[in-house]
């Protein structure tokens, strides 16, 4: 195994880097997009609510692999030339954002509605009430489930392996095929995933305690 690491550290490191990069982009992107669609889903206007729930239902009910493949195959044909990494990252972002939208929506609903009315009656706009009063409390409530989403996101980034995204999983497959050392390769890949997810998991717990 030491041999494997010392001979293959470069492709492994590239994979690790791409997995981290994809995860960070998708994490930030899905949090923003997810929150946006959560807000659409709780809008007073029916049309906007429908747009929100159609988005959520579409992206959370199609397998991630199908979404990633869709972006990998269809977007280059009609819209723009994108590589596997970009296609996979976009797919992962949108897929995760649908789950985050549902999580954040549940968080918003857990804040007593009276506070929104209090803020509105106090002269704040709906946006101000959301920004200063409702969303901060909603996010506090949803940190644990959000942590789950983020960890799933890192693991789901392995979908990049199917669209030539040069992530950790993709590199692992290559190395396993080249060296035929299947078990040790995937063992190392697994450990490298843990190196990303364990600190993330620890950080989310820390955040939960800090804000509680």
């Amino acid at each position: 195994m030491i041999n494997l690491i010392s001979s293959q550290w470069q492709p492994l490191l590239l994979g690790l880097w791409n997995t981290i990069l994809c995860s960070v982009i998708a994490l930030i992107g899905s949090l923003i997009i997810g929150t946006f669609f959560a807000l659409l889903e709780i809008s007073q206007k029916r049309v906007i609510r429908v747009i929100g729930s159609v988005y959520v239902e579409v992206f959370r009910n199609i397998p991630l692999l199908v979404i990633a493949m869709g972006f990998f195959l269809i977007v280059p044909m009609y819209i723009a030339k994108i590589n596997g990494f970009t296609a996979g990252t976009i797919g992962l972002t949108l897929y995760t954002s649908a789950f985050i939208a549902e999580t954040v929506r549940a968080g918003i609903n857990s804040v007593e509605t009276g506070q929104l009315e209090g803020a509105l009656a106090n002269g704040m706009t709906y946006t101000q009430a959301m920004r200063y009063i409702i969303l901060p409390q909603a996010f506090k409530v949803v940190i644990p489930p959000l942590g789950n989403q983020f960890i799933n996101l890192v693991k789901n980034s392995s979908v990049l392996a199917f669209v030539a995204g040069f992530d950790l999983m993709y590199q692992g497959n290559l190395i396993a095929n080249d060296t035929l050392q299947t078990m040790p390769t995937y063992f190392i890949v697994g450990v490298l995933y843990l190196i990303i997810t364990l600190p993330l998991s620890y950080y989310m717990r820390h955040l939960e305690k800090k804000l509680a």
């Binding site: 209090g118 106090n122 704040m124 009063i133």
Partner: protein, 247 residues
């Protein structure tokens, strides 16, 4: 000068007819108490005044803003019309002081030192200056309600709406809140509309008493007439005799 004018206002919740042909005029500086059995539309009526509940037809003018017109900037209207709720509705993620200072800061852009000074003055007025750094969850109901009143006053509104402000309080807390409200009614020229079952309070500070039942205004009397003689409708007399134990 009129602060609030209802002209033939109708309000529905789905099929439920909550307000029926409401006509009402409240002058600036008046203190008006709304009473009536639960479900009679009192709360709905005052919630239409700051647009928390939209009306379906008729004309409603508040502080020269036309609430029946969809183009009216309702956020601007709300700066001048404060509201105190039955369940306080304090911001749970903010300290007492921040509850009071937040809206003046972000809505009125009041300078920070001035904002702080006014907030502390108001906390003194409601007798809770020592709670400035507490969180709402650490306060009793009566304290929460006094903070909620201070929060509304910090916007320096022209009109204050009270939606059953003492109904959720323990009996021994009620007087602290009513004292603050009496002080506002007597020592400011703010227009006040108060939905309450506190007849002692109504008798002491109201200029007028409005009795509602089944979504309609049945009586609109001066306080002297309502409590002195007797309400003129049977419905109101019946209501008053039922709650007379609380007088």
């Amino acid at each position: 000068m009129s602060m609030i004018e209802f002209h033939n206002v109708e309000k529905y919740y789905g099929k439920f007819h909550a307000l029926k042909n409401i006509n009402l005029n409240v002058d600036a500086g008046e203190t008006v108490v709304l009473i009536g059995p639960s479900g009679s539309g009192k709360s709905t009526l005052i919630r239409t005044i700051n647009g928390l509940d939209p009306i379906q037809s008729g004309k409603l003018i508040v502080n020269n803003y036309d609430l029946s017109d969809k183009k009216t900037n309702i956020n601007k209207l709300r700066r001048d019309v404060g509201m105190v709720f039955q369940h306080f509705n304090l911001y749970q993620n903010k300290t007492v002081l921040e509850n009071i200072m937040l809206a003046p800061r972000i809505v009125l852009k009041r300078p920070e030192d001035e904002n702080h000074e006014l907030a502390m003055q108001l906390l003194n007025k409601v007798g809770l200056a020592n709670k400035a750094d507490s969180m709402p969850s650490q306060l009793s109901g009566g304290q929460k309600q006094r903070i909620a009143i201070a929060r509304s006053l910090a916007m320096q509104p022209k009109c204050l709406l009270f939606d059953e402000p003492t109904s959720a309080l323990d009996p021994e807390m009620i007087d602290d809140v009513l004292d603050v409200m009496k002080d506002i009614a007597k020592n400011s020229n703010m227009t006040m509309l108060v939905v309450t079952h506190e007849m002692g309070f109504a008798r002491a500070v109201a200029d007028r008493v409005i009795f509602m039942a089944d979504g309609q205004i049945l009586e609109d009397d001066s306080t002297e007439k309502f409590f002195g003689d007797q309400p003129s409708t049977d419905r109101a007399r019946e209501f008053m005799s039922k709650i007379s134990g609380h007088l």
